[in-house]
Amino acid sequence: MKSANQRAWLFVLPVLVLVAFNALIPIMTVVNYSVQETFGDNLFFWQGLDWFQQILRSDRFHAALGRQFLFTGLILAIEIPLGIVIALSMPKRGFWVPVCLVTMALPMLIPWNVVGSMWNIFTLPDIGLLGYFLNHTLGVPYDMTQSPVAAWITIVVMDVWHWTSLVVLLCYAGLMSIPDAYYQAAKIDGASNWAVFRYIQLPKMKTVLTIAILLRFMDSFNIYTEPFTLTGGGPGNSTTLLSIDLVKIALGQFDLGPAAAMSLIYFAITLLVSWVFYTLMTKDDTN
């Protein structure tokens, strides 16, 4: 049992100060912009909630939000099951375990814009490995800069390449915490592979899967650098995800008010969905 101790606040204070400095001041700046209009020269006019209404009603925002949900949905639908399957089939001990872990973790340690550039080079139609293979060996016409479908497939495959390992590592950690006795008992009972998975492995992986789904949701919903470096949001607007659109409005057009309002709506949606995921997945524990 933890003891009550208000002096614990002193221990938390440095963290609080640093995070508050980085989180509260910028968010207040954003809130400040979101209710004002400016024509430059540091002159601001009170605008009320107009920007919020304008953003919430604009087709452009709806389209970007739709693409964002499609992207995140695809990512979760592919990476989570794939990560579980790979974790299940990984060796449990021996020489190959560290080899697998190190090679699998490698993509996560590459700077995000390098990931984008790398996939750009990899998929160039005539001189990239994948692009050349698809176009000239298989004869499938493939050009990311021309076809929205190809661009979409590429950004999804890139993210699967980049982040599935996170799910694998988490699930693997969960699997390794299952004592051998559980498997022996299942064997004596004559349990099928599916039963072992459903009643032993899956429940044991629940905590780590919750972390995996939450992290993958947050990060794929906020993704910016990789798709921007790879496609720049194109062709047309077909891969302009929410954050790419936001940066276009804020830094490209310098519409600070609408961009700030959009940031807050964006943040609110992320928080809301994370909270729903979190509550749904931890609901059983409290009962």
């Binding site: 060796p91 190190v102 490698l106 590459i110 905590t207 940031s263 994370s274």
Partner: protein, 265 residues
């Protein structure tokens, strides 16, 4: 049953292909790259790497990145240690809310913060310094560090603390001499994740720097646009950014899987 190893094998091959291509590209001459497709470098050249190591803008990009990543890792771990201890040992007013609030900072899109960060760090006179980038990365690294460390600390029985007090240890001495060595694996994992997320982040690092502290990843984007599109040079620079991560990951290979699994959700 024996075919099981095929799944991780195919997955690893899939992971290695783009990396192989990047490395192969970096050993090709620009002429060879543009003249057509070749699976292996025909005229093997170190020119791209030589160009990087002889140009201060390039290699200072690496030093800048490594400097701010190191500062960030040190700050994050140092302030997260006492906080994680407090969360794992004591109940205090608003502890659960505070913990959740810390985690929400990981959910904020970096794109939202780019402009306010620029203004904030310009206002306090830190713009274009390593410290600015290191401090701004604390936004998402400190919550993560607290989260992971708290998981490790919760696994240490409270009796350890009590025995130490009975033996007459003061709190700082107990923390440094007894408690830290017990959770050193956790500190290693935490440092690794802080390193990783600070190393890969670019948007804030790019926004907060101009010349003096420009990270390698940002040098890459600028060179790609100004000097035409030198694919070989770009590939070499990219290949070099993989190395620090690979070194760090090798040292913590036995702990990476544990890192997140012990965190509380």
């Amino acid at each position: 049953m024996k075919k099981r190893f095929l799944i991780p094998l195919i997955y690893i091959l899939f992971l290695m292909l783009p990396i192989y291509w990047l490395v192969a590209m970096s050993f090709k001459t620009t002429n060879e790259i543009l003249s057509g497709f070749s699976l292996f470098p025909q005229t093997f050249t170190f020119d791209n790497y030589a160009a990087i190591f002889s140009d201060p803008t390039w290699y200072w990009g690496y030093f800048n990145s490594i400097i701010y990543v190191t500062i960030n890792t040190v700050i994050s771990v140092c302030v997260a240690l006492p906080a994680a201890y407090a969360f794992s040992r004591y109940r205090f007013l608003g502890d659960k809310h505070l913990f959740f609030w810390l985690l929400t900072n990981r959910m904020a899109p970096a794109a939202v913060f780019a402009l306010p960060f620029f203004q904030l760090y310009s206002a306090v006179g830190l713009f274009d310094t390593h410290l600015a980038v290191a401090l701004s990365h604390c936004l998402f690294n400190i919550p993560l560090a607290v989260w992971i460390l708290e998981g490790f600390m919760r696994g240490v029985p409270k009796e350890l603390d009590e025995t130490a007090y009975i033996d007459g240890y003061s709190f700082p001495r107990f923390f440094v001499q007894i408690f830290l060595p017990t959770i050193k694996a956790g500190v290693g994992v935490t440092a690794f994740f802080c390193f990783m997320f600070s190393w890969v982040e670019l948007l804030l690092a790019k926004t907060l720097t101009a010349v003096e502290a420009k990270p390698i990843a940002a040098v890459m984007t600028r060179t790609a646009s100004s000097a035409g599109y030198e694919l070989g040079l770009l590939a070499a620079a990219g290949a070099l950014t993989i190395i620090p991560g690979a070194i760090v990951i090798y040292f913590v290979r036995n702990y990476i899987a544990k890192g997140f699994a012990l965190g509380r959700v």
